[in-house]
Symmetry: C2
Subunit: 105 residues, 2 copies
Amino acid sequence: MEAVAEQVFVALADPTRRTILSALASGGPATATDLATRLPITRQAIAKHLNLLTETGLVTAEPGERRRVRYRLHSAPMQVAQQYLAALARDWDGHFDALRKHLEG
Amino acid sequence: MEAVAEQVFVALADPTRRTILSALASGGPATATDLATRLPITRQAIAKHLNLLTETGLVTAEPGERRRVRYRLHSAPMQVAQQYLAALARDWDGHFDALRKHLEG
DNA sequence: CACTATTGCAACCGTTCGGTTGCGTCAAGC
DNA sequence: GCTTGACGCAACCGAACGGTTGCAATAGTG
């Protein structure tokens, strides 16, 4: 689980990657060349980001007609990251309180 | 809010940084040199990470006795990131459903 | 068949990043 | 007053990163 969360953090840490994800969210599934027309960077750069996003599971690649490859959003890994964040915050505060109680007792 | 979330993602994307945070969570507030005895890296490397963590707000630096500087965890920014993740997931699925309904209607 | 459009792969480039080494500085104890 | 710890700053290094350029392969169209 931590591995998935780390990958999600790495993926979401980059602004360009978030822009790509946002474009996919607002415009629906699209191809790399399609995204290249909307964003100010090269298709290959977008392809690299899409590969990374596919490896983290935030996006799935499905082959379409005429050699085109459409990328679709997948929110499952993000929920894992969300759970990880919640557990981490709980762990922090919990241990802190426990430690204070232990020192006070 | 997105800026805070991005900083949290960047901070949590690095394994060493997560180790430092974990050490602070389990052992309570500590100084850079104290952490350097527990981790296999230099004090300066830890100091750099602590600076970054301080800038994101995940950690607060409080001066102690004899020129020592203790670092204490702060979970507030993580909750912001958590909220951001939740909103993002909601946005993804929501827009996807809305688009499908629009195309079907 | 020739042409166009789309994808994938590889090399390259400048910048950032994680980490180390070295040095100057400032507080406390003998 | 001198030594001892602990901190901060700056330079340096190798690796990874974001991005571009160039090229080969492949699927449709005239």
